[in-house]
């Protein structure tokens, strides 16, 4: 059994942390109190920078550095909390939103204070209806106790938080598309530069941070930068929630110290593979990440180790596929997802994505050709790295990695018009 003591998942499932009395009894808002009475914004930001916290939303950008890019020019600045979690295989933010919304609020208020934002937004994925209700109740409770609103806890700092709900587009998780959406336009990524820190929401300096990132801020302030920095690898420190799904005995969210081997996550945390099954592939960082295989099980789960393997930690969606999984079927699911979610601005993502999805669907249906395989093997060059936002670069990694590793499985679909695996089990992320 895993031994790591949960940090932001602590108490989840044991008591109702969405109840403000319960949350306060467990020490909730004491960090905010301490910050408001004893710390300057710069001091808070300095601790976060020192902790080396890297964003938990996918790109892993150092949070303190991101905050430091805000120009000090007197213009209003905004904090946007990204809770649009829609990456297949990732389901941690939803849990944090529903189970411990007050922890998120506390982290968010502390972060807004550190960067001097008087106005914050939380962008909640449209499908999280229950989560948004829970969050609104928690927000009202926090406001009634002056953890938010005017002159928080008697200080000079005021903060207003607007709840903005999405409408079912994955691309609105991308930070600049999210800003467009909040502004009332079509959710589509903006051309960068300028980056949001310089010209973000309504053209003002803006920081977009993930839910999980903001939750850790609270604990870093409470326990100190060094506590955090000493967990896991030096350049990729801290705990992180991994959403484990697919062919394991106990799918679910697990908070791990970064750096542990993939094998440990599967076996110790997620209960191991199903009886009698063999590992075939796993995706360490959600739908956008390239697959790894049996021989990669010792790779450390952290930003840099995974990048070295040409895949990524992403948002921590860890999908396990055993020997009953059909790789063509998995690739079909994912390419279909990206085809459907492309915002349509860029030619390679829009047109290439659609073409790839059609080819893979045809392969799965047993109607593919050798020509399809030839095209799929080279099309990566023109689809990946040629788009405006990373979604376009997410179409090919999984497909390319399994095509390279299991060429025979793809070829068999062409040769026999059907999957060679008996009793295929679909992977449910």
């Amino acid at each position: 059994m895993a031994t790591f003591e949960p940090v932001i998942m602590k108490g989840i499932g044991e008591s109702d942390l969405a109840d403000i009395d319960v949350y306060e009894r467990g020490g909730g808002f004491s960090v905010l109190r301490k910050v408001m009475s004893d710390m300057t914004p710069d001091a808070v930001a300095a601790v976060v920078t020192e902790s080396n916290l890297r964003g938990r939303g996918g790109a892993g950008f150092p949070t303190g550095r991101k905050w430091s890019f805000l120009p000090k020019d007197g213009r209003p600045r905004y904090l946007v909390c990204n809770c649009d979690e829609a990456e297949p295989g990732t389901f941690k933010d939803r849990m944090l939103l529903e189970k411990t919304p007050l922890q998120l609020i506390e982290g968010l208020v502390i972060s807004a204070y550190a960067m001097g934002a008087k106005q914050a937004y939380i962008y909640i994925r449209g499908e999280f209806l229950e989560g948004s209700r829970i969050f609104r109740r928690a927000l009202a409770a926090a406001q009634s106790r002056n953890y938010l609103g005017d002159r928080i806890l008697g200080s000079d700092f005021s903060l207003d938080l607007v709840v903005h709900r999405g409408a079912g587009a994955y691309i609105c998780g991308e930070e600049t598309a999210q800003l467009e959406s909040i502004e009332g336009r079509r959710g589509e990524p903006r051309l960068k530069p300028p980056f949001p820190a310089v010209a973000g929401l309504y053209g003002m300096p803006t920081v977009v941070n993930n839910v999980e990132t903001l939750c850790y801020v609270k604990h870093i302030i409470e326990r100190g930068a060094q506590w955090f920095a000493k967990i896991g690898p030096e350049k990729s420190p801290g705990p992180k929630i991994m959403s484990v799904s697919g062919h394991v005995r106990q799918p679910g969210n697990y908070e791990i110290p970064l750096g542990i081997p993939a094998r440990e996550l599967i076996d110790e945390y997620a209960g191991g593979l199903l009886p009698g099954r063999k590992l075939k592939a796993f995706q360490p960082g959600g739908a956008s990440s390239a697959a790894l295989f049996e021989e990669d099980l010792d790779v450390g789960i952290d930003f840099d180790s995974l990048a070295a393997k040409r895949t990524m930690l992403g948002s921590g969606g860890f999908v396990v596929m055993d020997d009953t999984a059909c790789m063509v079927n998995c690739a079909r699911t994912l390419t279909r997802f990206f085809e459907h979610e492309s915002c349509g601005q860029c030619t390679p993502c829009r047109e290439g994505g659609q073409w790839v999805a059609r080819m893979v669907a045809r392969l799965e249906a047993g109607e593919g050709s050798q020509e399809d395989l030839r095209v799929l093997n080279v099309i990566n060059n023109t689809i990946t790295g040629t788009n405006l936002c990373p979604l376009g670069d997410s179409i090919m990694p999984f497909l390319s990695s399994v095509l390279k590793r299991f060429p025979d499985e793809f070829a068999a679909h062409v040769a026999h018009g059907a999957c060679p695996i008996k009793d295929v089990t679909a992977v449910v992320a």
Partner: protein, 793 residues
């Protein structure tokens, strides 16, 4: 001025030095290196979507888009490396996957960027093996455009034009990903005065103009560099003809004038030439009916009558604002040197001045103005491309826009509306100019506001309609005062006709010769000539390119004059309300059938070339007046050759000694420029004529291209007045003034001020000039038409 930093970079091994911040694609242009683009358009913000412009930049980990990457010192760019070629081939392959390839029947075939770039950089064949995806093929996007969604490559130039340039925000992308379509925000029509520009900037044949669809192939077209005369902006354009018939017009960028755009009125007005209404030979009235006649007969008859009237000092000439500078010059030569009269006036509308006497501004001055004052001029309707500059200044530079006038116009950008009754603007401006000059606080909330705006602004451009002489001179005083304290600024006067300013400048006014040279004996103004004719004191009138029956403010007077004058000759392109009264009608050549110069509202004289031949019995206005001069034994005074006329004009203008400030065209004695009180009882309503871009008689009435856009004549009331009068939206009402009445449908809203009724101007079916006097003023009673029974049930 701070000096722009220059940076040096290498593009494909060639060194180039450009200002810091230049886009790589623009820097490459300087070397003659073309980087293909689709979404990029030099007039719009780069968005970087189509990805065709990917290039290799040393030290960058991935290919970069040339359309939005800015140059830096020492940058090394490769636009033709194998990696770049592969990316381009990829993008083209993607774009062509589901493209219908209707090149053989596509309007854009031969001038299509998808065709051209595929030839140059694309793959020879598609690797797509399944059926192409299909999309709607003939989408009726609005009155001017049909969209083929399958040809669309989703570059979004059209939607961005509508958002960024037109500021109208109607065209949008609907749906997502490869299902994306171009549509309107509410699913309604794409209606815009600027819609035609989207068909031009569309890199493929997706947006096709209804006027040109399937009519020609680009390689069959002849081109003539011309200038639009549909309004006084004078946008430069190209006229494309096929076998002698005009097929389309196309922008021809002059960044000082049009910024590379034209409006739909300008773009689509030419098909009237091929309509039955077009006059193709002279007409002479015989036994009460206008009948076909030879040019010789028309000239002989006109010379005889006009000559006799002139000999008795009882002849007059109206027109010039729709002719070229050369011809307007010829027209006044004809009046002065052949007929021996100064009775010549181009003003057949409410406008009195076509230029400011001092402090003329340039169109470009609008670009960096921080305060724009619109005095009565409704720029979207009267000078559309000028309005685009205002839109940009307001939207991009946060220029402050103030409209002062008798009703709230429909403008595309936010503005401050100051309601000021007709006529009273002059008083207001006078008081304001006076207060500013004395450094005193002006009276009234608005004047105080405006004075503050003026004080805060550093560059002020006033756009005036040239109607109110008191306002015009007060405006000049105002600018003078502002210039004196170190501010910048000037005045633009929107012309009432395309070449109003040219006509004024070459002497088509009773008291000024060419070059604004004051004359000793002023002749009669249009109003005076019409009054004299109505009273039997004028024996003959010659009217060229003017339609006073419809446009002269006092329509009753105009019609009485045209009816009473013993002899009337009119030179026109199509039958008009005025020509219907004539004894002789000359079939006049259009702008497209001749060459010469025109002068736009800022005083810029621009040459235009001939695009097509006129029908055989159609003559230019210059040819008509020089034939008349010959028939009157003065063949040396005039020549119809534009070059001869132009060199004479230049010589005369150089010799002219204009006064400083410029002497003003003579005013009608009837003009009362001062304020008018509204009827507090609201038994009568003050009539405010409202210009509309597509209204008018003549060519615009008969052009099939404009027909779908033609407005309905309307009377608009303030909602409080409507309540009082018992009028609902669309109710038919009769407006009755002292000299006539019109019946129109009502609009109810808040754009009209209380006590006024707005009436669409220049509509032959309901001429507002039946309700006005010579100074454009009128009061009417309002009678709702009885409701039909079924409407009551």
């Amino acid at each position: 001025m701070s000096e722009t930093k220059m940076v040096k970079l290498l593009i494909d091994g060639q060194e180039v030095t450009v200002p810091d911040g230049t886009l790589v694609v623009e820097a490459a242009k300087q070397l003659g290196t073309q980087i293909p683009v689709y979404c990029y358009h030099p007039k719009m913000d780069p968005v970087g979507l189509c990805r065709i412009c990917l290039v290799e930049i040393e030290k960058a980990p991935k290919l970069q888009i040339a359309c939005s990457t800015r140059v830096t010192e020492g940058m090394v760019v490769r636009t033709m490396s194998p990696k770049v070629a592969e990316a381009r081939r990829g993008v083209l392959e993607f774009l062509l996957l589901n493209h219908p390839l209707d090149c053989p029947i596509c309007d854009k075939g031969g001038e299509c960027d998808l065709q051209d770039f595929t030839m140059e950089y694309g793959p020879g064949a598609s690797r797509l093996t399944e059926p192409k995806l299909h999309k709607p093929k003939r989408v009726d996007l609005g009155p001017t455009i049909v969209l083929d969604e399958e040809r669309c490559i989703l570059c979004r130039r059209c939607t961005r034009f509508d958002n960024e340039i037109a500021q109208e925000r109607n065209l949008v992308v609907v749906e997502r990903g490869h299902n994306s379509l171009i549509g309107t925000i509410d699913g309604g029509d794409y209606e815009s005065y600027f819609s035609g520009n989207t068909t031009e900037i569309c890199p493929v044949g997706a947006l096709t103009s209804k006027a040109y669809r399937f009519r020609a192939r680009p390689w069959d077209l002849s081109h003539a560099d011309s200038v639009c005369t549909q309004c006084s902006v004078g946008c430069n354009y190209r006229v494309d003809a096929r076998f002698g018939n005009i097929m389309r017009t196309f922008t021809r960028e002059n960044s000082d004038v049009d910024g590379g755009w034209i409006c739909d009125r300008g773009r689509y007005t030419f098909n009237y030439l091929y309509e039955p209404a077009r006059l193709r030979e002279p007409l002479v009235r015989r036994d009460g009916d206008l009948e076909r006649a030879s040019f010789a007969e028309a000239v002989a008859l006109t010379a005889e009558k006009l000559g006799a009237a002139a000999a008795a000092g009882r002849a007059g000439v109206i027109g010039g604002g729709r002719l070229s500078d050369e011809e307007a010059f010829a027209l006044q030569l004809f009046a002065r040197k052949v007929l021996g009269t100064n009775n010549i006036d181009h003003r057949a509308r409410l406008q009195r001045y076509a230029s400011p006497a001092r402090f003329g501004a340039r169109l470009r001055d609008l670009d960096d103005a921080d305060l724009i004052l619109m005095f009565g001029a409704i720029t979207p309707e009267q000078a559309p491309i000028l309005d685009l500059r205002i839109r940009r200044a307001v939207a991009r530079n946060a220029a402050h826009l103030v409209f002062v006038g008798p009703f709230k116009p429909d403008l595309a950008v936010p503005f401050h509306y100051v309601e000021y009754a007709t006529g009273a603007i002059g008083d207001l401006m006078e008081a304001l100019a006076d207060a500013l000059k004395r450094g005193a606080q002006p009276q009234g909330a608005f004047a105080i506001d405006l004075a503050r705006n003026l004080n805060e602004a550093s560059k002020i451009v006033a756009v005036h309609n040239g109607r109110n002489p008191v306002a015009a001179s007060a405006l000049e005083q105002l600018i003078e005062t502002l210039l004196a304290v170190g501010k910048r600024g000037g005045i633009l006067v929107v012309g009432s006709q395309g070449n109003a300013r040219g006509a004024e400048a070459v002497g088509c006014v009773p008291n000024l010769g060419p070059g604004y040279a004051p004359l000793a004996n002023a002749g009669m103004t249009t109003a005076e000539m019409l009054t004299a004719a109505a009273n039997g004191k004028l024996d003959a009138l010659f009217i060229a390119g003017a339609n006073p029956a419809l446009t002269f403010p006092d329509g009753a007077l105009a019609r009485k004059a045209l009816e009473s004058v013993p002899f009337l000759a009119v030179a026109e392109q199509v039958m008009t309300e005025t020509a219907a009264y004539a004894n002789v009608v000359f079939a006049a050549a259009s702008q497209f059938e001749k060459r010469g110069h025109v002068t736009n509202l800022e005083g810029r004289r621009q040459a235009f070339a001939q695009a097509v031949e006129a029908p055989i019995y159609v003559a230019t206005d210059a040819a008509i007046v020089s034939a008349l001069a010959s028939a009157l034994n003065k063949p040396d005074v005039l020549d119809d050759d534009p070059d001869w006329l132009f060199s004479r004009l230049q010589a005369v203008e150089q010799a002219a000694k204009p006064a400083e400030p410029l002497a003003r065209p003579k005013l009608d004695p009837s003009v009362t420029a001062h304020g008018d009180n509204l009827d507090a009882q609201r038994k009568t309503f003050t009539v405010v004529p409202v210009p509309k871009l597509y209204a008018g008689g003549g060519p615009s009435l008969h052009d099939p291209g404009l027909a779908p856009m033609r407005p309905q004549a309307r009377a608009s009331f303030h909602e409080d007045d409507a309540l009082l009068l018992g009028i609902a939206q669309d109710r038919v009402v009769t407006l009755t003034g002292p000299n006539g009445s019109i019946t129109v449908a009502a609009n109810v809203g808040t754009s009209a001020a209380v006590g006024t009724v707005l009436v669409t101007a220049d509509m032959p079916e309901a001429p507002v000039n039946r309700l006005l006097d010579a100074s454009g003023r009128g009061r009417v009673t309002v009678t709702p038409a009885p409701l039909r029974k079924e409407a009551l049930a």
